[in-house]
């Protein structure tokens, strides 16, 4: 059990280097995290942040380098050794067992689980533990019934329950609303002020760095390129350290597109999720040519079901989709006729055949029509290859060769390859879901520019994203989804993240008063 009285440790990393064969993931990195500090580790994807953390917690053995805890050298052969020293890790993705209760999850992670568990006394002890904690979650609830914010709190509670005093947090707020994030980080911050906890947080969000962190270290391409006290650094300076001198592709200038009649109109869409619960409630929405409509919301509020309904992967219980005045059902013929294109989230799983080549994956939309289809139903290898060569060049897809399996590509390049396929012909309607999730700055800037390009050339774009900053940057109009319904519609210029966050959390809603035909 946890001993709140125990002091938080300090941590020092000395000259740490990690090589994988010829590749150096981390080179001569040294940093110090003070006792009771709230320290941020910044860097793009692949900069070496997770390698550094994995080496410290004993998940990997560094090629060279030492770890000092409270100024004493420690050697961790495994994560167990690190745990024994009170070091814990909270991952970006939940490690909870979904079909078990909060209490079961907490009891299971203990070092010693009794052979027969006396639930009455365990529940009592857990309630007492929750009373001593800065936040609490219902002990008897199944984890699957908790909201994302509560799950993240439980992940942190689990570490505190185990008496961990040095926490590594890996993008802990990526699934939270801004206000939930503030709450969780604020409470941890308070614990660090009392020297009960030392925190090292990996994050991309400068807002959080500025609000909660004391100190920052920045990694780029495996090297520690800078750092210092947050109060001495501006956001621009930190961003520059992260990205280096590489110029980012600026979003294409937004062409003024004259307002036109809506191209896609959704009316009263209702749909169920996989458990049979209502996932979409009366979704009514219109998107015009040359317009990006953003859909904001905490993940799990119906956004993925909405994309699936538009993609033809989920059946709508009621409601209609009309495109260019004609009722639309997502069959292959209709998709082709109306030129509807989808960039779903995690495209490697949802829009690719991972084992097929890049060129084959790029032809999934049109391998059955000329020129790729030859008379007699055969596929023209040459046409397939020509098309892939053209798209790879035009969209800058980095692939060993067009015949490599698409699963060997990096996340950003899979994203580019699928976007290339979807935008290879002029598109009428583009639905994109979290298009930049997991991509670094430069890849994200590139994908966003492609989306704006499509808008400028007259595509109606529906952009579903969990990244508010992305939505505020790209959208012409912004809708907020909560609990399967659109609860708010606004223009990006006319609002701020805190207001939108309150709609995302369901504490505000336009639905009762001004309703449903927001789109008309």
């Amino acid at each position: 059990m946890s001993q709140i009285t125990q002091m938080a440790p300090s941590l020092e990393v000395v000259a740490m280097t990690m090589r994988f064969g010829a590749f150096t993931a981390l080179e001569d990195a040294s940093m110090k995290v003070h006792r009771g500090a709230f320290h941020a580790l910044l860097g793009e994807n692949g900069a070496g942040k997770s390698t550094l953390v994995k080496c410290v917690i004993g998940y990997q053995k560094p090629t060279v380098g030492d770890v000092l805890l409270n100024n004493k050298e420690v050697i961790f052969e495994s994560t167990k050794d690190a745990h024994a020293h009170g070091i814990g890790m909270v991952y970006q993705h939940f490690t909870l067992v979904q079909n078990m209760t909060v209490a079961e999850n907490l009891v299971l992670v203990r070092d010693r689980v009794p052979a027969v568990i006396d639930w009455k006394s365990e529940h009592k002890a857990l309630e007492l533990f929750m009373d001593r904690m800065p936040f609490r979650v219902p002990v008897r609830a199944p984890v699957s019934s908790l909201a994302a914010g509560e799950k993240q709190k439980l992940e942190i509670l689990k570490q505190l329950y185990l008496g961990r005093r040095l926490l590594f947090l890996d993008e802990p707020t990526s699934v939270l609303t801004p206000s939930e994030a503030d709450e969780v980080l604020g409470l941890l911050h308070a614990m660090t002020r009392k020297q009960e906890l030392t925190v090292l947080i990996i994050t991309h969000k400068f807002r959080e760095v500025n609000a909660f962190c004391d100190e920052v270290s920045v990694l780029r391409r495996g090297k520690l390129v800078g750092g210092g006290l947050v109060k001495d650094l501006s956001t621009d300076e930190m961003a520059k350290m992260m990205v280096g001198a590489e110029p980012l592709r600026k979003p294409a200038p937004r062409a003024d597109v004259p307002a036109k009649a809506p191209r896609v109109v959704l009316k009263g869409i209702h749909a169920l999720d996989d458990t049979g619960a209502q996932a979409l409630r009366d979704i009514t929405l219109a998107v015009s040519p040359g317009e990006i409509v953003g859909i904001a919301g905490v993940s799990g509020n119906g956004q993925s079901e909405l994309v699936e309904v538009l993609a033809g992967q989920r059946h709508a219980v009621s409601g209609t989709i009309v495109i260019d005045g004609e009722p639309y059902t997502p069959t292959r013929e209709m998709i082709r006729k109306k030129r509807v294109n989808i960039l779903p989230e995690v495209p490697l799983d949802n829009a690719c055949v991972p084992g097929m080549s890049v060129s084959e994956n790029m032809a999934l939309r049109d391998f059955d029509v000329p020129p790729i289809r030859k008379p007699g139903g055969l596929v023209s290898k040459r046409a397939l290859r020509d098309k892939a060569d053209r798209l790879i060049l035009r969209f800058g897809v980095k692939t060993p060769s067009p015949t490599s399996a698409i699963r060997v590509l990096s996340g950003g390049n899979v994203q580019r390859a699928v976007l290339a396929r979807e935008l290879s012909e002029p598109s009428n309607v583009l639905v994109a879901a979290n298009p930049c999730f997991g991509l670094d700055f430069s890849a994200s800037a590139d994908i966003r520019a492609q989306i704006v390009d499509a808008r400028n050339s007259g595509t109606a774009v529906l952009l579903v994203s969990e990244d508010l900053d992305e939505l505020l940057e790209l959208s012409d109009r912004l809708c907020v989804m909560f609990d399967g319904a659109i609860v708010h519609e606004t223009k990006p210029g006319a609002t701020d993240t805190i207001t939108i966050g309150r709609y995302m959390a369901g504490s505000l809603s336009d639905r009762a008063s001004a309703h449903p035909d927001a789109a008309e």
Binding site: V97, Q98, M100, E104, V109, V116, R314
Partner: protein, 307 residues
């Protein structure tokens, strides 16, 4: 024999049939529940059931002790469980394919070693008279139960408790819900699944011994008539809940005894048609519970039949 009871004879005969026929379903489905909770599916239990039946019959015949036969059946079930678990733990092996192979292997092997056992009569398991007070022979007959039936009920209650309140139960469920979570806590998922598959095999073997040593109490090649397969399907309808497994087994027992019950009451229906009742029930439940929009509730997330 029960003409004097009129139509009352049918429910009484069905009650008796339910108690007799449900026992193998109970053992196999509870065993499969343990295996599936650990995140592995064993479709080979039809084969285990037959191996259990033939080994129990053989051992009982040779030693004269039916209870030794029951133990031998459980032991053979463990061995088949080990083979299944070991094959499934190899890389790129599908537990569905191994299960089907193991089912065919078990059936073939039991027919092969069982050839000389079709004629001789082995000592049978004893029964407990629960209704010795009754004057009506049909009631006495219906409530004559085998100790294994009572053991099966106790097992269902025990498993419900063990899944919720023992370390072994929680670790088993965790292995079936999230391999990564279990590994992160230092448990060997393969070991948990090996033990769970062995436990499933043990119980299925015992289920088989009931077939050959109590009801119908003979050995022949058509003995199990797919009960092992139906019991595996039953685990899915029962949503991996041991108590629901128990109720569903009783339901299947009742359906399975419909034919004999109607015959004993003098209703003339083709027995072959009525013997199809459990299969028809399986189809009916599947159609009633399936959905194109919904995933299965309660399915262990590591299981290949899940969502």
């Amino acid at each position: 024999m029960s003409e004097d009871l009129g139509l009352w004879g049918i429910p009484i005969a069905m009650l008796g049939g339910m108690i007799r026929v449900s026992t193998p379903y109970m053992f196999v489905s509870l065993g499969e529940t343990i295996t599936e909770k650990s995140g592995r599916i064993n479709l080979g239990l039809e084969g285990t059931l037959l191996i259990g039946a033939v080994s129990a019959y053989g051992v009982s015949y040779k030693t004269g002790s039916p209870w030794l036969g029951v133990l031998a059946a459980g032991g053979c079930g463990i061995v088949l469980g080990i083979v299944h678990a070991w094959l499934c733990s190899r890389p790129r092996v599908s537990d569905i394919a191994v299960g089907i192979a193991m089912m065919l292997f078990g059936m073939g092997l039991s027919f092969f070693v069982g050839k000389p056992l079709i004629q001789p009569e082995a000592p049978q398991l004893p029964a407990i008279e629960l209704a010795s007070f009754s004057e009506i022979p049909a009631v006495r007959e219906a409530l004559r139960v085998n100790p294994l039936f009572l053991l099966g009920i106790a097992l269902a209650f025990f498993l419900r408790w063990a899944f919720a309140a023992t370390r072994i139960g929680l670790v088993l469920r965790m292995a079936g819900e999230s391999k990564d979570a279990a590994r992160a806590l230092g448990y060997s998922v393969e070991r948990v699944r090996m033990l769970a598959t062995m436990a499933g095999g043990f119980l299925s073997g015992i289920g088989g011994s009931f077939l050959s040593l109590y009801y119908p109490g003979i050995w022949n090649e058509g003995l199990s008539s797919g009960q092992g397969l139906i019991a595996v399907a039953l685990v899915i309808f029962a949503r991996w809940n041991p108590m629901y497994c128990f109720y569903a087994s009783l339901l299947y027992g009742a359906a399975g005894s419909l034919g004999t019950a109607l015959q004993s009451a003098g209703v003339d229906v083709s027995p072959h048609l009525l013997n199809a009742a459990p299969a028809a029930l399986t189809l009916a439940i599947m159609i009633a519970t399936c959905s194109r929009d919904r995933a299965l509730v309660g399915a262990p997330r590591e299981l290949t039949v899940g969502a």
